[in-house]
Symmetry: C2
Subunit: 339 residues, 2 copies
């Protein structure tokens, strides 16, 4: 074989979809390693785990663990991304969009990142305990001890997610695929958040996962927007960067900001912030946090997408019709931040 | 480029792990298509979806939908496999084993099958409704209206899953990786099964998924062992084969067996069946079903693994240390059955 034909061979190999060492953004996807596991967990025992006769009433189960599903491409970049969903949702947030396009979980694998998608503790594939409910049903505990649960109905969620100013009405130019809303509503699940301690059990697990991976970007959304900050307050080790997307809260500007000076941080919001009585005060508080953290020597950036010329984004910007355009921008931000 | 160097090129391409058209059992995994979606779903409205002040109390949510995550290899075989987990578990059942080995979800992709892993309705990433619990907490409904929930504690589950005759004791030669049991217990979640109608809402969704895929193998386990049969009783279209692993029930031998004569069927059990007072009567009833279905012209096979020389398998045989040996056997069974 001549040197020339070796070169041709190499070119041919590069041209074969999915066979190049850098994953392609289309065509076959090459995975070096994938799977799932749990982080954390705490045993609880009850005399009323089961209310059906075929399964013994008493027993020990594990709660607080965090389910993690991951995919790592060949020649992965050193720092993987952990993706954390928000209120009333699961890791499905980051997968195929309601209108059937590629999710960020796959996009970032194709960009060369290992991606780790989690289900928050007590939600999705992360177990919750039925014991408190069973105790009340059995007459062994007071009604008041039932957990405080909530599901977000479509009507309030429409406004919270900034699809429009009121249920059924859209903001002009909104890029959430409302024609696929039926598929989106199926993503929503009940939320134990208010029945759990602060910080949420997911928080220490995120830190533990980041350290287990030898460093990771913690990318959070909405309810979980604050989680990476809370994890950093516990221990900054392993947290290579924070990307907080549409956080419902940032750390208080008056809190100890030292942990947030240890890594690059991005706070990212979509469009229509000023039109939302729910979100505009949150944005204001996050801006105060960012200013204060930067005064303390932090490298914290806050971006509201219309400010960089990207308009029409809802709260669910990872599912909006321009989701991959935002992901592309984000991957450039990460490359610079992690340099 | 000479013909000779073209041949060398072809050989080189074949040798590059993951780049052959037939996926390799080790090394890089090539995926032509992956993602997630939901099947089914029904809107429910309540005045008490939320018990927290930040989310409006009244609203409409969707329940009964079935979460599906899939991976399809290049040059996939015509018939994909739908994997359905059992009691108190989620789709995690089929993923990475507790001791960190490849799950059947990936194994069968490497064997050339599209695999579709589901979460049963009201479990995992498939939503449940908190409305009935919230109504009781608000004092608007009687305690008796609380749902009948159960979680299987580790102590009873140990015996149910045939790790051994009693909690903490193993059967001689059992192949469940008991040293990794802590990771296994984290897979277990509460179960709404007894609070849901019969057939479970998952059942019609399995049929719908099979038809959407233009034909599929329905592979079920334990509690869901009966689901493919129930789906076939509703409509056999799309159900290319049934693989019922360790079913807790088969159809009654005296029922209408016509639907079960329309496709190849395998009922598969592990070891220690005679040592289990829970499982031995179930095996007996399944044998009666198989005999009756075959008398009616069915092609139904029942295999208890020790009968074919494979010993030591628990109820969780897709996670036992010889799980891939069983998967290999199963893939040969499927090749013959689907020929």
């Amino acid at each position: 074989m001549t040197i020339r034909s070796l070169a041709v061979t190499a070119t041919l190999i590069m041209l074969l979809g999915g066979c190049a060492s850098q994953p392609a953004m289309q065509g076959d996807l090459v995975i070096a390693k994938q799977g799932s596991f749990f982080i954390g967990g705490r045993e609880v025992r009850s005399d009323r785990m089961s209310m059906v006769p075929t399964v013994t009433a008493a027993g020990t189960i594990v709660v607080d663990q965090m389910y993690v599903r991951y995919q790592v491409p060949p020649s992965a970049k050193r720092v993987p991304i952990v993706m954390v969903h928000g209120c009333c949702l699961t890791g499905k947030t980051w997968e195929t969009t309601p209108d059937g396009r590629m999710g960020w979980d796959e996009f970032f694998v194709r960009k060369g990142y290992g991606t780790y998608v989690i289900d928050q503790a007590w939600r999705g594939r992360s177990a919750w305990s039925p014991a408190a409910i069973n105790q009340v049903k059995a007459g062994a505990a007071a009604i008041e001890t039932l957990p405080t649960l909530y599901a977000a109905g479509q009507e309030p969620a429409w406004v919270i997610f900034r699809f429009g100013p009121e249920h059924g009405k859209t903001f002009p130019g909104v890029k959430f695929p409302v024609e696929a809303q039926a598929e989106f509503w199926k993503q929503m699940v009940p939320d134990w958040f208010n029945a759990l301690p602060v910080p949420n059990p997911t928080v220490p697990s995120l830190g533990e996962l980041a350290r287990k991976l030898g460093g990771a970007v913690l990318m959070s959304h909405s309810q979980s927007g604050i989680y990476p900050f809370q994890a950093a307050a516990l221990d900054t080790n392993g947290i290579a960067a924070i990307v907080s997307i549409e956080p419902s809260a940032c750390p208080a500007a008056t809190s100890d900001l030292t942990p947030y000076t240890k890594m690059p941080i991005l706070v990212l919001y979509g469009d229509y912030m000023d039109l939302s009585p729910r979100w505009s005060p949150r944005l204001k508080l996050c801006r105060e946090f960012v200013a204060a953290a930067n005064q303390r020597g932090g490298k914290v950036q806050i971006v509201v997408l219309p400010e960089i010329g990207i308009t029409g984004n809802s709260h669910m910007l990872m599912q909006d019709t321009n989701s991959l355009e935002i992901a592309e921008w984000l991957s450039k931000w990460l490359e610079t931040a992690l340099r």
